[in-house]
Every structure is written in structure tokens, then in C-alpha cells.
């Protein structure tokens, strides 16, 4: 295998020719998540004939269309259900789901909950831009309190979903949240998520200058991207400050969104347990038959 060193070579391998450039707006964070995923796939050296992508509906859900690999662009919120089907049909495939906060935490919430609970082998990459970008900016269930959306013109009064926290509570094997502006940790984290058997969630906080930033007066693209640096904190730093910091330091970080790896465990995945179950029943059946002879 030729070792890929530059972005140009990477793009030649992974991008679906003719689809690029994207339909995404100027300054949208989705493309960055795609690039991080490419590097993770390349570094792992996965056979792309064994990787299948699935997505629902939304700007984020268009990502598989740009990848030179098999993919299913399904109905809104249902990508995880389709992906479960792919995995059931052939557990040898790596299944990666690109989904948005609306797609995954909103309309697809129940699919997400149960896939995480059942620990289905898949990697869910949820791009959280706090908004329904594609349809023009309706309020997403992940939007911070006070956010302005077309359906929340006076500011959001609903408490946001912390989807990473939820996935941890459901016992998902791997859960991490990252931003898009610092490349190395997220790439490493996607690799870990892909290698993990069972359910992994990678949540990305991504700027949507058009539907979220503009409406919430977060300034131009530069300022909007900077918002994520100013309002996030690494979980390790957060915990240290909360334990040893002064009151002033604690007050400074207490409302920041935490980034990092939140859960990294190894419970048996659904299909692992299922295989064992089938083996056990087969054995029982053969024993019963032998008994009759």
C-alpha cells in the first residue's frame, strides 16, 4: 500500500470525484470532520471495500455522498436503524454513521438510545451545530439555552440534550466530544472509535455560520469559530480546576462545554454476544441430536 502523506493524495483516495466542492456554506465545519475521518481511516489502513457509511437527512448527512465508498443516504433520523441492518447482514463491515444533532438527537433520538443501549457495533459521528441547518435554522434539541432559532425567535427556554452524557449513561463503549479547530486529538479519537467493538459516539461541535452563527450574532466566520475555543474546555482541565482551582477559576469554567474522551470501556458488543448465543444453541442442538441416537 502506498503511504499517503499529503492532503492532495488523501483526497484523491477518499473523495468521490466530481462531487467536490461541497454544497456547504462558507465556513461550515462539516468538511473538517470529513477530513479528520479520512485521516483516521488512512492511518488505520482499513480496507475501504469493508467500510460502509450511512446517514439520514441534513447538511451533515450529506457527507457520505462525498466519500468514495459504499453508503446509504436514508430517511431523516433513521440512519442508525439502517446501519444496524447492514451490520446484521454482514458483521464484517465497519459501519460509520454521519448524522446531525437534529437527525440523531431530535427525530432519531430513540434509534440512537436503543443502539447505544444494545451496544450495536457501529461508529456514530454526530455533528452538533446546535441547529437544523439544512431547513433554515429551526431549534435543535442540543441548542444552548437562550439560542435564537426561527422557531425560538425570543431565545430558547428548553434545556439542551447532552448527547455524549446520555451515551455514557447508556453504557456505550466509546464516547468523545471534540471541536473542529484542533486536528490531532479528534483524528486519534475517531481512530479509537473505529477500532472499538460495540457502540462508539463521536460528537463534534461544528460551526454553522449561516443558520446558527448569523442568527445568534456570533459575528463573522472568524469570531464564530473562536466562540468554540472560548466556550469549551478539556475535561481533564475542567476536573482539575473544579478540584483544585480558586473560586474565581471555577466560576470561569463552570459553564464551558467539556471536550475529550468521556468513556472508553469494553463491554461485549451486540453482535459478539449474538454470535455466542447462536454457538451455544447450536451446541445444545447437536448434543440433543446425539442423545437421541
Amino acid at each position: 500500500m502506498v503511504e499517503i502523506k499529503t492532503a492532495d493524495e488523501l483526497n484523491k483516495k477518499f473523495l468521490r470525484e466530481g462531487m467536490w466542492p461541497t454544497i456547504f456554506c462558507n465556513g461550515c465545519g462539516h468538511g473538517v470532520v470529513l477530513e479528520y475521518t479520512f485521516w483516521a481511516l488512512e492511518e488505520l489502513g482499513l480496507d475501504m471495500d469493508k467500510v460502509i457509511f450511512a446517514s439520514g437527512i441534513g447538511c451533515s448527512s450529506r457527507l457520505p455522498g462525498y466519500i468514495n465508498a459504499d453508503g446509504l443516504h436514508t430517511t431523516h433520523g433513521r440512519a442508525i436503524a439502517f446501519a444496524t441492518g447492514i451490520k446484521a447482514a454482514n458483521p464484517d463491515f465497519h459501519v460509520i454513521i454521519f448524522t446531525g444533532d437534529g437527525d440523531c438527537a431530535g427525530i432519531g433520538g430513540n434509534h440512537f438510545i436503543h443502539a447505544a443501549r444494545r451496544n450495536i457495533d457501529m461508529t456514530v459521528i454526530m455533528i452538533n451545530n446546535f441547529i437544523y441547518g439544512m431547513t433554515g435554522g429551526q431549534l435543535a434539541p442540543t441548542a444552548p439555552l437562550g439560542s435564537i432559532a426561527t422557531t425560538a425567535p425570543y431565545g430558547n427556554i428548553e434545556h439542551p440534550f447532552d448527547i455524549s452524557n446520555l451515551a455514557c449513561a447508556l453504557g456505550a463503549n466509546y464516547v468523545a466530544r471534540w471541536g473542529v479547530s484542533h486536528p490531532y486529538q479528534p483524528i486519534k479519537s475517531i481512530k479509537e472509535g473505529l477500532e472499538k467493538r460495540g457502540f462508539s459516539l463521536l460528537e463534534f461541535l461544528a460551526p454553522c455560520p449561516t443558520a446558527y452563527g448569523r442568527r445568534n450574532k456570533l459575528g463573522d466566520i472568524k469570531k464564530h469559530w473562536a466562540w468554540y475555543d472560548d466556550n469549551t474546555i478539556l475535561i481533564e482541565d475542567y476536573e482539575k480546576i473544579m478540584k483544585y482551582g480558586t473560586e474565581e477559576e471555577k466560576a470561569q469554567v463552570k459553564d464551558k462545554i467539556q471536550l475529550g474522551v468521556f468513556q472508553d470501556i469494553q463491554k461485549p458488543g451486540f453482535f459478539e454476544s449474538y454470535e455466542k448465543l447462536v454457538d451455544r444453541l447450536r451446541e445444545k442442538e447437536t448434543k440433543a441430536k446425539e442423545g437421541k441416537k
Binding site: 499529503t6 470529513l34 477530513e35 469559530w225
Partner: protein
């Protein structure tokens, strides 16, 4: 060397803004979207850290290190800084 696919660039200027050594600027040519893709400044301290390549949302940049031209790597913007109190 920095290669930019002019027609892929949408002009967000994130690369210019985030370069840790301020090595990039808008070029003089307009692409077909009417934006000015980035280029290296005439005088620059680019150390091929590849941050611009990795965070370009439109995958328009490729960084090709010049082997014989070693410069000190400044990694300030490569790790999340949100937690560090300013």
C-alpha cells in the same frame, strides 16, 4: 510549499486566521466564486505544521514540506486551548 486548489476555496480565511506564524495572506487572483484564495506571504515563517491543511473546511490546501528548509515548529494552535486561563 503550499498548494491551493483555487476553485475549491470558499474564502472563509480560517487558514489565514489560524496559522500560528501568520504566514498566509489573500492572493491577488479572484477564483470563480469571487473570493481570493490564500497564498504564502513573500516573507514567511511557515514551518509546515499543516494546521491550515487540516482545518480547511473545503480541503483546498496541501502542504508540501521542503526538506532542506527546517524551521522551528510552533505548535501553539495545535491543541485545544479553551481550558487554559488567559
Amino acid at each position: 510549499m503550499i498548494e491551493v486548489k483555487d476553485d475549491w476555496c470558499k474564502g472563509c480565511n480560517i487558514c489565514i486566521d489560524r496559522c500560528p506564524v501568520d504566514a498566509l495572506e489573500e492572493s491577488d487572483n479572484l477564483n470563480r466564486r469571487g473570493v481570493r484564495p490564500p497564498k504564502l506571504k513573500e516573507e514567511n515563517e511557515c514551518n509546515y505544521c499543516r494546521l491550515c491543511e487540516l482545518i480547511c473546511p473545503d480541503l483546498a490546501i496541501t502542504v508540501i514540506p521542503e526538506e532542506d528548509d527546517k524551521k522551528p515548529v510552533k505548535k501553539t494552535l495545535l491543541t485545544p486551548v479553551g481550558g487554559k486561563l488567559k
